[in-house]
């Protein structure tokens, strides 16, 4: 019998297992690959500050409790806005859809929350939303966002995946130093809408606290 033979021949056994488990990925994932990577027409990739904010979002694993995927149900579009489209995610590496809504969806949070709201909320969520079980993220007001890494990320995706960042995005230290003021100007614009004096002072000194980058990112979610 074939199976008795197979059980005595480990090489062929292992090969058979490998072939059988490969089918699904080949048929389900590969054919649609190029199509699913298409961005919406005229969509711009995130700015360096927003990318740094996305990295803060990942560092504190916001995606463990918040989704970024609005499903095509009336109850969801009423609550969160238009349902999500594949092309909107084309520049998201990684995808941050999440798998659990301990808190609400954030895919379009930029449409209905402001810098000011986020600032108060991140300091004390239960004060802004009574009954909230979200922890406060005070450390984001003192920790600095890693804007250099965010810039390196932008350069990497531009060079390797042709994400449409401008020609000024080059992987040299000189190019980063030349670009840095653009990031700081963007951070200053966010800090101008905030109340926290320490944050404002830090930005004035040319530093970017995590909260500033995070708010820039959250505001970009539309």
């Amino acid at each position: 019998m074939f199976f008795h033979w197979l059980e005595k021949n480990p090489f062929f056994f292992a090969s058979a297992v490998s072939i059988v488990i490969s089918f699904a990925g080949l048929i389900e994932i590969v054919p649609n690959f190029a199509k699913a990577a298409q961005p919406l027409v005229d969509m711009k990739p995130r700015s360096v500050l927003e990318l740094a904010g996305k990295d803060v979002y990942m560092k504190d694993n916001c995606n463990t409790c918040h989704s970024q995927l609005i499903r095509p149900f009336k109850s969801e579009t009423d609550r969160y806005g238009d349902y999500s489209l594949s092309g909107e995610y084309a520049y998201d590496r990684p995808f941050l859809w999440g798998s659990k809504r301990t808190g609400p969806d954030l895919h379009r949070v930029g449409n209905y929350r402001t810098t000011d709201w986020h600032e108060n909320h991140m300091l004390n969520p239960a004060l802004i939303v009574p009954g909230s079980i979200m922890p406060a993220y005070k450390h984001q007001f003192t920790n600095l966002a890693d804007i250099e890494t965010a810039y390196a990320e932008a350069v990497t995706v531009k060079n390797i995946f042709h994400t449409p960042y401008g020609d000024e995005f080059q992987g040299t230290r000189a190019a980063w130093e030349a670009y840095k003021p653009t990031v700081l100007a963007e951070a200053a614009a966010i800090a101008a809408d905030m109340k926290n004096q320490d944050v404002k002072d830090a930005v004035a000194k040319g530093e970017v606290p995590e909260i500033v980058a995070l708010i820039a990112y959250l505001n970009s979610l539309k």
């Binding site: 292992a14 301990t102 009574p130």
Partner: protein, 488 residues
């Protein structure tokens, strides 16, 4: 050639990985209980400053119980079962012993460093694949070393036919290798530029919808090939060994094995129902999830029928109780999963606590029970001592069974409540509840779940104590017990 009767197996590696199974088990479950309690009592988020929030700890919990506890258990049982079913001792090959020890130390140090990296927030944010690229490299290395062990031991085997358990261990090795490699493909940004930014940071090879598809093809099948396949390997070895009963049906095991191999991977897209993944993929995921009941129940029924005519053992051997309950929870979990994968059910269940509820009746009831039972069976044979206390085992069994039942029932209610409240509308078609209403309503269920966590950890510490006392104070055995594990 040595005869079977005189062959002495080398259990040094099995012992080492057993210690790690217990260590990571205690750690992972303690953190799990803490984060469960945080959802009921948010003040608990501030015990460790920025390092103690739910969001920082949750990936540490999942990764520690998957790559620490479960994978250690898989290695521990492999280094015990592999030798015995292939009729060859590890000690016969210095090379394999060296590779095994190398694997152990790289794994142990790597796992500790990886855990620390998550505390500090280095995360790729892909579930169960959060470790940044240097730790991925370490994991791949450990896996390759394990592969060499498996292939090497098979290469020098005396028993020509591979026993069912070896099929499953092989499949675990191959499946996890394929999934892990493809899903963790990332480009370190430091090396893609002239050394800009943090050296640990990387960016995923896939974007958006593609990334989601690859991630859940991985996420779902990491469950398959780390949480199901090697655990079935354990059942096929330890249940017959403990009960003295032959496996009920060879044909059923054949059907279940190849069925599981083929069907499992298709079902990954059921994690992405109603998302931006094309409809036909979602439907495939749903349909294959239903088909998956067949091979899953095939294995579980094969286990239960193995006890045919010997059900009295259930009353007087707590080890059999652990294994039978594990198979039963496997059945529960593998019928619950397909139900959640039906699109209309998923519309309510997705994003709610019913999902962690489902995961935990599988991992607490099936995976952890089977791993603990395996260690209970191996300990007297590895340490040549009787199990320390049968009474303690009985108490542990009931405490943990109660814990699992409390966990999944509370999360079922919580999940369905939340799912229904999100979609509830009043007579004019307006949403009835704001989001926060659907959070505060869950407080009692989160509290029950935290209690369940405390109970389960308590049981696990009783288990650790029992094994420790077995090693140090159990009655010395002069002869290896053939079937039923001796216990005081």
């Amino acid at each position: 050639m040595q005869s079977n009767a005189t062959l002495e197996y080398d259990y040094s590696l099995a012992k080492k990985f057993t210690y790690l199974t217990i260590l990571f088990g205690v750690l992972g479950m303690l953190i799990g209980t803490l984060i469960a309690a945080q959802l009921a009592f948010p003040e608990l988020n501030y015990l460790l400053g920025e390092y103690g929030t739910f969001s920082r700890l949750r990936p540490i919990h999942t990764n520690t119980v998957i790559f620490g506890f479960t994978v250690s258990g898989v290695f521990a049982t492999w280094f015990y079962v592999g030798q015995r079913v292939l009729k060859v001792s590890m000690a016969e090959s210095k090379f394999l012993m060296f590779i095994g020890n190398l694997q152990f130390w790289i794994y142990f140090v790597g796992a500790l460093l990886a855990t620390v990296s998550l505390f500090f927030g280095f995360s790729t944010a892909k579930e169960y694949a959060e470790y940044e690229w240097p730790f991925d490299v370490v994991i791949v290395l450990v896996w390759v070393l394990w592969g060499i062990s498996i292939m090497g031991l098979i290469g020098i085997r005396r028993e020509k036919a591979l026993y069912i358990s070896v099929w499953y261990y092989l499949a675990c090795f191959l499946g996890v290798a394929m999934l892990y490699l493809f899903n963790n493909m990332a480009i370190p940004t430091y090396f893609a530029t002239e050394g800009l930014g943090n050296v640990l940071h990387s960016v995923s090879m896939y974007s958006g919808t593609n990334d989601a598809l690859v991630q859940w093809w991985y996420g779902h099948n990491a469950v398959a090939f780390a949480f199901t396949v090697p655990i079935i390997a354990m059942s096929y070895y330890f249940l017959p060994k403990e009960s003295g009963q032959a496996i009920y049906s060879y044909k059923l095991s054949l059907l279940s094995f190849w069925g599981l191999m083929f069907v499992y991977l298709w079902a990954g897209s059921h994690h992405l129902l109603w998302s931006t993944v094309p409809d036909w993929m979602q439907t495939m995921g749903s349909a294959f999830s239903i088909v998956l009941i067949l091979p899953s129940w095939g294995s579980a029924i094969n286990m239960l029928l193995t006890m045919k005519g010997e059900w009295n053992q259930l009353t007087d051997n707590p080890l059999i109780k652990f294994m039978v309950l594990a198979s039963t929870f496997y059945m529960l979990s593998t019928i619950e999963g397909p139900i959640q994968a039906i699109k209309s059910v998923n519309a309510i269940a997705h994003f709610t606590d019913w999902i962690p509820g489902h995961v935990h009746d599988g991992v607490l009831g099936w995976v952890a029970f089977m791993i603990m039972a395996s260690i209970f069976h191996m300990a007297p044979r590895m340490f040549k001592r009787e199990l320390y206390s049968k009474k303690l085992m009985e108490q542990q069994f009931w405490i943990q069974t109660t814990a699992v039942v409390l966990y999944f029932t509370s999360m079922w209610i919580a999940g369905i409540t939340q799912g229904m409240m999100w979609r509830a509308v009043d007579e004019y078609g307006n949403l009835m509840y704001s989001f926060i209403d659907t959070v505060t309503v869950l407080h009692p269920y989160y509290t029950i779940r935290a209690v369940a966590g405390v109970l389960y950890v308590t049981g696990f510490i009783m288990f650790a104590y029992n094994i420790f006392k077995t090693m140090t104070a159990g009655k010395v055995l002069t002869q290896e017990p053939q079937f039923r594990t001796p216990m005081a």
